[in-house]
């Protein structure tokens, strides 16, 4: 799916959050959006998801303007814990997107168990979300997004509550899914290293109000990536520095390194 934003603007009442965003994400691209807290990244994703109408400009998918929630869309919400249904088991939560496929219940459950295994939650399927830790809940939300092989995937800081090891595993899982399914992915993160490691392209947003892209950087790393070697490449270091400068430069008072965990 090709995603196109045309001079998109968004506001809440009088407060202008996004202004003049022109962005085309070609089919199958993994775009990382980086920007300071409160600049409007979540708002951008909600607008793309059709959950909030654009205040000005437009969003279109494959040439058709987005008016409601598009088909073949999956979203990992930033507030992942609240986005799960506590009265359903983990497995039933993950199987929810398969309902619109009209699959029989047993098949839905089996697919849910398979994807749970891939995010490292084998055996948790019968528990309820509130019986899991924050990081586990986050992986449930990720599993729910991946289970239906969406062609447009929006992820709002999906790895925020994970430990370094799990986080790296899931970054690799995302790359693997992206290679095999070829989905268009918009991935929001605070973590500059992570953005360069997973992305085909990184866009840095300026601080609000009226946030807009200040850097649009193609990531020219080889498609095959590896946590140790890729992160050691001189090119990786150079790209990371460039994104870091854009983020810092765009912050008014330039605090220390941006905190990946809000």
């Amino acid at each position: 799916m090709t995603l196109r934003l045309d001079s998109l603007g968004q506001r809440y009442g009088e407060q202008v959050v996004l202004h003049g965003i022109d962005l085309t994400v070609p089919d199958g691209q993994l775009l990382c959006v980086v920007g300071p807290s409160g600049c409007g990244k979540s708002t951008l994703l909600r607008t793309v998801a059709g959950l909030q109408p654009a205040y000005e400009g437009s969003v279109s998918i494959d040439g058709t303007p987005v008016t409601g929630v598009p088909d073949q869309l999956a979203v990992v919400f930033q507030d992942y814990g609240r986005s799960l249904f506590p009265w359903l088991t983990v497995r039933d939560n993950v199987a929810l997107p398969l309902r619109r496929r009209g699959l029989p219940r047993a098949e839905r459950r089996e697919q849910a168990e398979r994807i749970l295994e891939r995010v490292g939650l084998e055996g948790a399927g019968r528990r309820h979300p509130w019986q899991l830790s924050g990081g586990m809940q986050q992986r449930v939300a990720i599993a729910r997004a991946l289970v239906c092989h969406p062609s447009l995937l929006l992820m709002d800081e999906p790895f925020g509550s994970l430990d370094a090891q799990t986080r790296e595993d899931l970054e690799d899982l995302l790359l693997e899914v992206h290679r095999s399914d070829g989905a268009t992915i918009v991935f929001v993160t605070h973590d500059i290293d992570e953005s360069v490691y997973v992305a085909d392209r990184v866009v840095v947003l300026s601080p609000g109000p009226a946030s807009h892209p200040v850097l649009d950087l193609p990531v020219t790393l080889p498609a095959e990536r590896d946590q140790i070697t890729t992160r050691g490449l001189p090119e990786f270091v150079a790209l990371r520095a460039e994104v870091g400068r854009a983020v810092r430069g765009s912050e008014p008072k330039a605090p220390a390194h941006p905190d990946p965990r809000p």
């Binding site: 998801a49 814990g81 929810l96 509130w130």
Partner: protein
């Protein structure tokens, strides 16, 4: 005992706030250490659970003890006084047993009087409460789902709820005449408001993020109702049902007190009063108390089964 209650509440709170992780753990730990007592335990949640169960038992015993104490004082006071107007509870219980529960085994010990008076009362109450529950939940969902409908209907609902239900009974007597229909209608019409208002409120307060999730998942309206709106509103729905249940009991008795009713517990009450049969009056009162208690307990048990697991709605 207080510690037991606090421990229970702490555990519950942990489930409630458990969405973000981190926060709830210290709360549970604190509750556990406060419940003190023996056994360091492995520190696993299991330890907390068994202690919770233990204090729950102690709590139950204490409640029973208070109940027994009240009845003992009543018994002694009534015996000492020896008034015919205030028979001791033992005599009342015995009279109640003879009146209604000394029947043959094949009729589960119910006497003819019980079949003639207690069962019709219960039947009418079940019919009225059932209708109120179904209509209240259905209308409540309809009103609560749309912001406009809620804004439009809320004043009417608040008004309907504010009218004391027994005051409506004369209206039903005129419209429907005396009899079972009128009685069921008064029960249903009085009991419907609490369920309706609470269901509407519960549905309206569904987490907006979860509504977004439902939109992204493209849930069918029926699936959305069944998987999201009703489960979110369930605690409120049960709060409404509990209010409606007690109203149903009140209206059941009240509608049978009217001159011209032919049977029922309320009828037994007025009938016995006109014959100055005080033991029967007291027996009917005791029976009503027991019925109300049992019905409420059954509803609470149903609530615990259905709502308990999804308590983290926040």
């Amino acid at each position: 005992m207080d510690t037991g209650a606090a421990g229970g509440a702490g555990g519950c709170g942990a489930a409630v706030n458990g969405t973000r992780g981190g926060g709830p753990k210290p709360a549970t730990a604190a509750a556990r250490s406060r419940s003190g007592g023996g056994g360091g335990g492995g520190g696993a949640p299991r330890g907390g659970a068994t202690k919770g169960a233990g204090s729950a038992w102690r709590h139950l015993l204490l409640r029973l003890a208070v109940l027994v104490l009240v009845f003992a004082v009543w018994q002694l006071a009534a015996e000492a006084h020896g008034s015919v107007y205030f028979p001791p509870p033992g005599r009342i219980a015995h009279h109640m047993y003879e009146l209604w529960f000394s029947g043959p085994v094949r009729r589960v010990f119910l006497t003819d009087a019980a079949v003639a008076d207690v069962l019709p009362s219960l039947g009418r109450m079940a019919a009225g409460f059932g209708m109120a529950a179904v209509a209240g939940i259905a209308l409540g969902v309809a009103v609560g789902r749309s912001r406009r409908a809620y804004a439009l209907c809320n004043p009417v609902l608040q008004f309907a709820r504010a009218v004391p239900p027994p005051a409506l009974v004369p209206v039903f007597v005129v419209v429907l005449d005396l009899g079972t229909q009128m009685q069921i209608a008064s029960i249903a019409f009085s009991a419907v408001w609490p369920v309706l208002i609470n269901t509407a409120e519960g549905v309206r307060n569904t987490d907006p993020l979860r509504l977004d999730v439902a939109a992204v998942l493209r849930l069918h309206p029926v699936e959305r109702l069944w998987l999201l709106l009703l489960p979110s509103a369930l605690p409120r729905i049960f709060a409404g049902l509990r209010l409606s249940l007690s109203l149903s009991l009140i209206l059941m008795v009240f509608s049978e007190l009217l001159p011209g009713s032919a049977n029922g517990i309320g009828f037994t009450l007025t009938d016995a009063q006109s014959r100055s049969d005080l033991p029967t009056v007291w027996a009917a009162l005791l029976l009503l108390g027991i019925l109300g208690y049992l019905l409420n307990t059954a509803l609470l048990a149903a609530e615990r089964r259905l709502v308990g697991r999804g308590r983290s709605t926040a």
